[in-house]
Symmetry: C2
Subunit: 244 residues, 2 copies
């Protein structure tokens, strides 16, 4: 389905952003493109855009209902979402409950180790530099955010984690880690933006013991485990009717 939209403002790896008649709102189209390892691995997964759009819509509605500020306004169709226009802060905000991925390459923590407290890792969004880990002081020195904004970002990320961890548990799913992006709307308010989908988080099926079979997220694509779309569909099936 195509929506009536304005100019293409931005095209990323997984989404396109278009202008609308309202300068404070933009339309986001979710694409079927899958990329991993800084876009060195690429594929088309038909139907992924639809599921990521539906899952993101559901999650943002939950967060709004719990009082968190997000850019989400409405799901316009299976692959289109209307959101507030935001100036994205060039940081990937990763919250981790269980050690996995790059954390295990950069510390002695073993994959699967439960962390004593949720860990927030911030990465500098820059493809050329390979999205490196960044410290709070480097963020300040680069002028990406003040210490007050960094604090606000972390508070919002922790609240998101505590809401969604409980939410996914109700669906029999463990929220291992996830990435958020945030930005300021035209009024200068900090909002959770971008998406929340299995492309940007790790979700493990609590009904499955096998360490590979339990993976429901983009690691199925990264690790060539197959069944990517079925798994995304299963996530949506389990969460879509949870009133929370």
């Amino acid at each position: 389905m195509k929506l009536d939209h304005g100019l293409l403002l931005y095209e990323g790896k997984a989404k396109r952003v278009f202008s609308t008649n309202n300068t404070e709102e933009v339309l986001v189209e979710f694409k079927d493109d899958a990329t991993a390892f800084n876009a060195q691995k690429r594929a088309q997964i038909e139907g992924k855009g639809r599921l990521n759009c539906l899952i993101t819509g559901k999650i943002f509605k939950i967060l709004s209902k719990r009082g968190l500020p997000t850019h989400f306004l409405n799901t316009e169709s299976d692959t289109w979402m209307l959101v507030q226009k935001v100036n994205i802060i060039p940081l990937e905000i990763v919250v981790r409950n269980i050690a996995s991925g790059s954390l295990c390459r950069e510390t002695p923590l073993r994959p699967g180790k439960e962390l004593s407290a949720p860990l927030i890792d911030l990465y500098y969004k820059d493809d050329k530099l390979g999205d490196p880990l960044i410290t709070d002081q480097r963020i300040e020195i680069l002028g990406l955010a003040s210490s007050e904004i960094i604090y606000e970002i972390k508070e919002l990320a922790l609240k998101t984690n505590s809401i969604l961890r409980e939410f996914f548990l109700k669906a029999g799913i463990l929220l291992v880690d996830f990435k958020l992006e945030m930005g300021f709307n035209l009024k200068g308010k900090l909002l959770i933006a971008d998406e929340f989908s299995p492309d940007n988080c790790r979700l493990w099926d609590l009904n499955v013991d096998d360490s590979t079979q339990k993976i429901m997220d983009k690691d199925r694509f990264r690790l060539d485990l197959g069944g990517v779309l079925d798994s995304y569909e299963e996530i949506y099936r389990r969460i879509k009717d949870i009133a929370f």
Copy 2:
């Protein structure tokens, strides 16, 4: 010159540590081995151990005189130093005044850019992991140091920077950045330990304009610029008689 010492307790890339009759003190011998790029590049530079020992002794005396706690006790000979025994915290504490090295590979900052404030980067000392950059929260989660100790470490690093920046200026040298290590002595007091030498800092000759010729530190070895020993000798010549 060989000193009367006890058992070899530890051998690193540039130093050997020996026990003494006093359980609270150890002897450190500075070696002529030079390594760079996580020991992928290696060489022997005759006389380097002597200069690093003499420079470290001078710097630690300056820091002590200014009231900072260091492990330094005495320079026993040109290559041997008597120090308090410390349990080293496995962190490389890097203070930067000017952007250089890995900071320029991990951010858009260009080499030579003066930072708006001294930047403290902490790295996890682990050769197998390649000494990765580490955030304060990762340090806490790994149990390497509490937030209070991290604060103390940073305060001590900043004080060191402010003293040494001024000290090197008197010698016509710009202190670009440097690495410290710290640890606890047997009484549990936090001390600046290890060494302070041109192997672990960047020093630029303020009397020279040429961006390569002005380099006085281990970058001469890393970048194959030659004249490593002459340059270390020149540093010692300029600082050894500065009363500060």
